[in-house]
Amino acid sequence: MSSAERAMRVLIVEDELAALELMQWWTEDHGWEVRTARSGQVAVEIGKLFKPDVLITDYCLQDDVNGADVIQQLRNVDASVRCVLVTGLLPNALGEDARRLHDVPVLTKPFTFKRLGELIENGEKAAAAASGA
């Protein structure tokens, strides 16, 4: 397990400052190494350098790059990045992006941190099983 050598890296992308701060606190409480971004373009740039294990991104962002684009672009860099898409929209509003990212779990706001934690841990176990096999 990589966390034995170093802390798990989490990138949070959220344009709403309050939500971002709180998610940052919560993830840092787990002892993870956290970086944040408030726009899609910045997220992609940070992601390329930071190489997160987990990407938590809001769908609607302040620029022309939405959460689905961020996931796509960072997966192109590292296909093993575990992603969670967060949105306040109705499920059908994601349209084509929902089909494109059918394997990415979608969390609808306001979700509980418990649920977010489960998704991250499940992904972690799956990744461990995959690397152990």
């Binding site: 309050a18 701060e21 998610m23 962002l61 306040g88 109705l90 706001k109």
Partner: protein, 820 residues
Amino acid sequence: MSQPLNRDEGTSQLGLVALGVGIVESAPDAVVSLSFDGRVESWSWGATQMFGYDAEEMVGQSIQRIISAESVPLEAAVHARLRAEGSPEVYESVRLTRAGQSLPVSVHAWRLADGAGGFVVAEIARDISEQKRLEQELRLEATLLDGLSRSGEAIFSATDLEQLVRIVTDAATELSGAGFGAFFYDLEGEASQNSKLYPSSAAARQAFAHFLLPHHTSILGHTFAGEVVCSDDIVSDVRYAPHERAPGAALGEVPLRSYLGVPVLSRSGTVLAALFLGHAQPGRFCERIQRFAVALARQAGMAIENSRQSRQRETELSELRRSEAALRQPHSVYRAIGEAIDYGTWICDATGRNIYASPSFLELVGMSQEQCSEFGWGAALHPDDAEPTLAAWQACVRTGAPWEMDHRYLGVDGRYHPILARGIAVRDEQGAVTCWAGINLDVSRLKRAEAALREADRRKDEFLAVLAHELRNPLAPIRYALAIAKQPGRSPEQKRHTEAIIERQVEHMSRLLEDLLDISRITHGALELRKAPIELGSAIGAAVEAARPMLDEKQHTLEVDLPSQVVTLEADPVRIAQIFSNLLINAAKYTDAGGRIRLSAQLSGEQVLISVRDNGIGISPDMKPRLFTAFSQTRPALERVEGGLGIGLSLVHGLVKLHGGTIDAHSDGRMQGSEFVVRLPLGLPSSAQPVADSPSEHASARKLRVLVADDNADNAEVSGTLLELWGHEVHVAHTGHAALTLAESQRPAVLLLDIGMPDLNGYDVAAAIRAAPWGQEMILIAVTGWGRDEDRLRSQSVGFNHHLTKPVDPTKLRLLLSGL
């Protein structure tokens, strides 16, 4: 030459006589000499050959014996002239043979001296019967041809069949020289059992009566089978079977000997009728006459066929006209019903051709009935509708299924009109379609309503999506904050931070809800303005305060530029502040962080112009027309999550309008910034009031004694602090009882009473004060979280003068106190 002639004179004379006798005796012509009294003196071999009498029989006999009776006067006259004058005569005459046959001859006669002082007549007669026969045939040919051409004209100009049959029969009979003519024809149809006999005369009827009806008689049967039958003598003809002779008609009694039967054929060869010619003499119908009869029959056939076709066409045409006329005039009542509909009724014939359309429809498309019938209706269809409509109509006419079609017609006004056409096939007793009838329904209103409904539905769905988004977004941080706060080991600073977050989000959500309710009130005309003379500066100040958190969060620079003099409006201060806080929040939201926002106002006649300008993302031209329409944010806006319900500007627009003002938006396009300009009518003359009097600059001129009652110590503290800063004397109570005691002892001019106090609530305190003799003049202000109308009514009913909702807006409070 004369020498030998003289020497041989005796021999020569004998030789000449012998030569003459030889010539006379061997010539085919008849050479005869007669005495002056007409008796035959010499009779040549040729004469014997020609007339059948020999010289022995004729010499000494009168020449009269061989002269035909009709030629006797002529020949007598010739002989008289010969006797008197002696010049030769050449003439034609008719002689008789021994067999009794007439023989046309050409005669050359002259006078000869008989050597005894008297004279004899010599004549050479030549048989010209062949020449005569040719002449007669030529004459016949000419007559027949002429007759044929005349009969052709007559036949084709005949007005009815009976007349035609008569012309043919008469012409055939007359020109062929036949004794009888007859025509078998069924006027109602082809030659058949029912054929009738059209005889040329009564004699002909009798003559042909010996023949049984056609088809029963073999000789007629041949003709009815299409064969020309000609018999020189029918009596001995094998084709005329003896057993078919009518009973009692002995051979001698049959007036018919020559017989000619010719079929009258159509162009395709069908036997239409038969033409019969007969003569009492045998052998009268030569080949020429047969050909003539065939030609005549052909003319008759064509004429009959033409007549029959034109009669059929006429019948069809008149039937068509009759049925069309009948269809064009439906029962007047039904017609009236039809005409009452826009765009009336229509009728098509069984083939699908339009034969009637209501005037209202014809007027709509600008056509005459004739143009419509000539398929004008198809040409007036919308290009996208034409092909499917025509295909469906053809299928409908083929199958007889009910017609229903939604299509658009080009009107004379140049616009397309949606019309719903419906119709059904009208059938006769046998179930055959006689015509189609239906209506054209104007469905433009329906279509417009449909479109409006769809648009409203789409907007509603969009709005719900946006609403969900807008409510979830502030909910998310609240939930996170609660989760964070619950965890142990939080520093006081972190706790305060999370609380602040929750407060901000709750405030945000409250504003959303208030905006929503306001929009609903404006839409239903239920929003009431509480107008009062207000100072623009203070309203703007309140607006800036409300927008401040948003401006600070995005680190915008705000510049406010107001006129130096006081600007007074007759307006609802809360709503005016709402207008500009919305515009400022809007500007903050749609401008990237660190932007510049400028609010400026200037007087212009009876109006004040207030502009809110930013250097943000601007307004795209396609967005502009819908800018002030509620719920107009579309999906692209969603993805950008600029936030908001898309009702802010609509609300602003509605509020400005309620104040009798206008609002306009300007932008040079995307990323070019936006400017909103609000024009509001001025209330009182602004120059009348010096700036110093403005409550926005100073606390109220009147110092009031105010009692603040609130069980929440912090709230009471905040309000108290503010009131003191404004220069009032403040007393604070934390319970209802304390408030009542202080009110009695301090006799404050104004009481701010929280409704939700645990011991005595605000209503109880107010009621008690109003019940006390000293409490009548006090100004009671209710402070509550409930802002509904029924809450206001309740507070009014127990004696409150004013009603403020929590959190108390400082501007509102200050304005309220300054007005006292």
